[in-house]
Subunit: 125 residues, 2 copies
DNA sequence: AGCATATTCAACCAAAAGGTTGACCATGGA
DNA sequence: TCCATGGTCAACCTTTTGGTTGAATATGCT
């Protein structure tokens, strides 16, 4: 059952957990929601059609993956995105293909072009 | 079971498949091996302690995720890394790094138009 | 033709994932 | 104090996942 070949490729359990957490569409949707703002568990669960308990489990998985943190204030548990946890996964993916630096480059140009057209407060134009 | 909340967060099945494929350490190790060179199925299986059939299944999963391609030449099936498939996942993750209100769909179209003409975005020949 | 090699297929299995429901604790407010 | 609210726990169920084995298929070699 071991995934560690003889030549020393690592079997990073953190990555297992992170990618597995990201593999579920419900959990990715939750992360997207938290991108806009911190939310209480009940409010996170609201747009979904599954039970609160199910969402609670998803949040536990996201927490264990380090992708969110949960802090209880009063009787409300607030969920907060922890985007830094994506860094390990991102770094791993950077090992593949030169597309990542290119992407970052392209991303900047994309942002720039986004701002240039249709943005009223752009000095140039 | 639906992951599509009312406010329109997407439920991208491609991302499901890609992240799920990446969640397994054996499959990530395979990808790392293929980073160095194209390999036959038997050679991919060699450093692992599991059966050839198991590795064959892993390769099928990676293929379905688009992360590798397989081409049969003679009786040997060659496995080739397809790092472009990581792009969608990478773009999704980048949405969390920088907290820009960025239109990822537009970014995808932008990338497509960038790479459409004659760009050698394949690291190995 | 006959055999070895490369790979997949089919049936099976155990464990993990993702969901449900109902009971249970904790907290805030009347 | 009593009750509604917020959230988790425990038990259970079904489907998926990741592995096994042995047989089957396909190709190459001599």
């Amino acid at each position: 059952m071991e995934a560690d070949p003889a030549n020393g490729h690592s079997m990073n359990t953190d990555l297992d957990i992170a990618f597995a957490a990201l593999a579920d569409p419900t959990r990715r949707a939750i992360l997207s929601m938290l991108l806009e703002d911190d939310m209480a568990v009940t409010d996170v669960a609201d747009p979904f059609e599954m039970s609160l308990a199910a969402i609670s489990k998803h949040l536990t998985i996201l927490t264990r993956a380090g992708l969110i943190s949960q802090e209880k204030r009063g009787r409300v548990k607030w969920c907060k995105l922890e985007p830094d946890a994506l860094r390990a996964a991102s770094v791993w993916m950077q090992g593949f293909g030169q597309f990542e630096p290119v992407n970052l480059d392209a991303f900047e140009r994309f942002l720039e072009s986004e701002f240039r057209d249709g943005t009223p407060d752009d000095p140039r134009s």
